[in-house]
Symmetry: C2
Subunit: 220 residues, 2 copies
DNA sequence: CATGGTATTTAGACAAGCCTAAATTTGTTT
DNA sequence: AAACAAATTTAGGCTTGTCTAAATACCATG
């Protein structure tokens, strides 16, 4: 059984790996977890000893399949608890993250299965993020964050995860609406920004932050 | 904010203090928490430094009012989660303790108040134990464990917390039924056993374990 | 291809809690 | 009152995960 710190590291590495499963830098893990690079260096060595990550000095970290499995189960728990907090306890969607950060570490497989049932086997959390099933498989949703797509894929905007006025005005300004098409032209690893073509005519660049908040369906 | 270890110590000391709020021995805390007396010695010193317990070497430990307040809030959380597990998730009453042991350490006052509301402000947990309110006050229930009474008090049996065949047959054997009267004649500190008079005619002795499982109303 | 800057790792410490073994206090028994 | 047993505390160490400071590796730029 893992400590909650171990679970936090695996979850952070999973999140930072992105869909391409690239190696994750020590510094990025440190930033994600609000800790120091030296602590991360120590820790990933220990995780590697336990077979949860692949780690080569100076070359970044990836999850092993066992590590990924644990990360997916933690994400499952986090997202199910978020559904509970919003649906049953009537929390606002902006208050639930840090509570779910704690609840996700509760150890009891039976608890989480019963919670899943109690909630009616939801497929997504209150932010629209997909909830892995008990085997760690994501449901087939045809709903993605734009930054989960790869170069060349075409998609349709079906929603946003952020509803601040600033963000929505920005989308207006570039003429991006629900139903607009978005094609990924290029991906810049350095800042994770995306070059895209929208509405089949306009090329522009999205920062990672913008891309994360655009929910799309892949076009077949 | 307290660590969950601190909360566990305070809860254990509260439980062991009993209604008389007697000083608690190092060894009894160690046993309650499945740890060693030397660890307890260390820890109560630290708790005393933080103002949560009164500790005099070789003379036992009591809670300060601040320590008691924390203990009562942990108990509140534990019992509310137990209600949730049984009422909402349909757990059996025998499976919930260790899950609640984890859930009781979740930090979020708002969470616990919303949970309380969601559950309809229950006054007792699935074992019949009273749930302190958000100020740490126990509800007035006129329902007690027999071992919470003091010498001289008279009571009526209204329920049992343990429903094994062995226990129920034992009660039959001494002619103790719902509605029977029980008067506390004496209390033996050494093994926490009670000398009682039942049905206004028969004197006998209950072990602590038996007394804990007899729920009574005080007679006015 | 040398050099400087950034990323990363190592070295050495620290706090929280736990342990075993040894010392000390308390309290009981004669 | 002495001596022994039980309870308790102290001493010294261990693990997990953290930190700062110093050393080292990588890489881009000139």
């Amino acid at each position: 059984m893992q400590t909650s710190t171990t679970e936090d590291y695996l979850k952070a590495i999973f999140k930072l790996s992105g869909p391409t499963k690239q190696g994750v830098s020590t510094n990025s893990i440190a930033e994600e977890l609000s800790t120091k690079a030296s602590s991360v260096s120590d820790m990933v060595k220990k995780l590697a000893d336990k077979g949860l990550v692949n780690y080569v000095k100076y070359q970044g970290t990836t999850l092993t399949s066992e590590g990924e499995d644990i990360a997916l189960h933690v994400i499952r728990k986090h997202r199910l608890w978020e559904v509970f907090l919003v649906e049953k306890l009537k929390f606002g969607w902006d208050e639930i993250h840090e509570i779910a950060e704690q609840l996700e570490h509760i150890k009891s497989p039976k608890l989480i299965d019963k919670l899943d049932e109690h909630l009616g086997f939801p497929k997504t959390d209150p932010h629209g993020d997909p909830i892995p099933d008990k085997n760690g498989k994501f449901p087939e949703l045809n709903q993605y964050k734009l930054n989960e797509l790869t170069i060349g894929e075409k998609s349709i905007l079906i929603g946003v995860s952020e509803d601040s006025k600033e963000f929505l005005r920005y989308l207006d300004g570039i003429n991006l609406k629900l139903g607009s098409s978005i094609e990924i032209l290029d991906y810049f690893k350095f800042d994770k920004s995306l070059k895209v073509k929208i509405n089949k005519d306009t090329e522009l660049t999205f920062s990672e932050l913008v891309a994360q908040n655009l929910n799309v369906s892949k076009e077949n």
